[in-house]
């Protein structure tokens, strides 16, 4: 039987990177979950919006990439708060004025910091968020494989462990 210490190490080695990985996954999950907003808009907002499905689509896309400052963890697109509604309207207006998606993002980053992006820009120290979880899972998997192999050998009376 594998020594208890080794088991503790394996469990911790799996749990720690899983925490990291799950954090990174929640941050990218909103991309996959772009939904039609079912939140009602006021009559005034509806009138102001005018018919423009293309603009709406770009607005939704952009809103899904920005974090709602009030409901942490939700994108502006998914957040039911009034602040999120106001921000969506602002995004739409800025896009309608002719600003590019990058310019709108820059505006929000200038007010809230890079934290407002749901997906951190893949540059500099932020790369760690993408690379470390992958490394962690690979490392953890490697540890499991090694430990399980050793455990199997120890338990199999036909195998002589000292021969390996």
């Amino acid at each position: 039987m594998m020594r208890p210490v080794a088991w503790v190490v394996v469990v911790l080695a799996l749990v720690a990177p899983m925490c990291f990985a799950s954090i990174a996954w929640t941050m990218t999950a909103d991309d996959a979950a772009v939904q039609e907003s079912t939140i009602g808009v006021t009559a005034e907002q509806e009138a102001a919006q005018l018919e423009d499905p293309e603009l709406d689509a770009v607005t939704r896309e952009l809103a899904s990439q920005l974090r709602c400052p009030v409901c942490q963890g939700l994108s502006i697109q998914d957040s039911p708060t009034e602040m999120a509604e106001d921000m969506k309207l602002l995004i739409r207006e800025q896009l309608a004025e002719g600003r590019s998606a990058e310019e709108v993002k820059t505006y929000f980053i200038g007010r809230y910091g890079e934290w407002v992006l749901l997906e951190p820009k893949a540059q500099g120290l932020n790369l760690a968020v993408y690379i470390l979880p992958a490394l962690g899972v690979i490392f953890g998997a490697g540890l499991i494989v090694r430990s399980v192999r050793r455990w199997v050998q120890q338990n199999d009376p036909a195998t002589d462990p000292s021969a390996h």
Partner: protein, 191 residues
């Protein structure tokens, strides 16, 4: 006891645990504002009438512009009637505003995500206000200031630059400290 795997695991886990522990001690809401040190975003907002007062006429509503206040220290407090911590900071804000009103320090409240009716009732319940509250339709100014929630208080220097953003209810001590730090060097001011 085989040390090598334990050491390797520890070398990974210990820094991770340290990082998580450190993370637990920080408040995710107090991210420093990227606006600090730069020009405070301008605004031109209507003053909220108090209960019983006539509102400004539809044609020419009176607007308060930040850009009209160059030369003054401006303290901007975002608040709402549904915000519990805002009750704590109401009295200190009123007191300090009154103390500094003749010293070139302007205080403004900006209502966030709330109706004027609620705000007026709240002010009446809290004993009135010593400076105007401004209305911010569609939270344009709130977004411009990178607001996460209420209360947040912004301190703007005489040159129009945003000096400091305070998260959560502000105290008399913070108010006085920040205002004093914005007075030009050499000027003798006391509370």
């Amino acid at each position: 006891m085989r040390w090598k795997p334990i050491l390797i695991a520890a070398a990974i886990i210990v820094p991770l645990l340290a990082l998580f522990t450190f993370g637990m001690t920080t408040d995710p809401r107090t991210v420093p504002t990227p606006l600090a040190g730069g020009e405070a975003p301008d605004f031109a907002l209507e003053i909220m009438p108090l209960e019983g007062e006539p509102g400004s006429s539809e044609e020419e509503p009176v607007r308060v512009r930040l850009s009209d206040h160059i030369g003054d220290i401006v303290v901007v407090n975002f608040w709402a009637s549904w915000c519990l911590p805002c009750r704590e900071e109401h009295a200190p804000l009123m007191r300090v505003a009154e103390t500094y009103q003749d010293r070139g320090v302007a205080f403004y409240g900006i209502l966030y995500n709330d109706s004027p009716g609620n705000a007026q009732r709240w002010l009446e319940e809290m004993g009135g206000q010593s400076y105007p509250t401004l209305l911010d339709p569609r939270s344009r100014t709130a977004i411009d200031y990178g607001l996460y929630g209420v209360p947040e208080t912004f301190f703007i220097g005489r040159d129009g630059r945003l000096a400091y953003k305070h998260f959560g209810p502000v105290t008399e001590q913070v108010l006085v400290e920040q205002i004093e730090s914005l007075q030009p060097v050499g000027e003798e001011v006391g509370p």
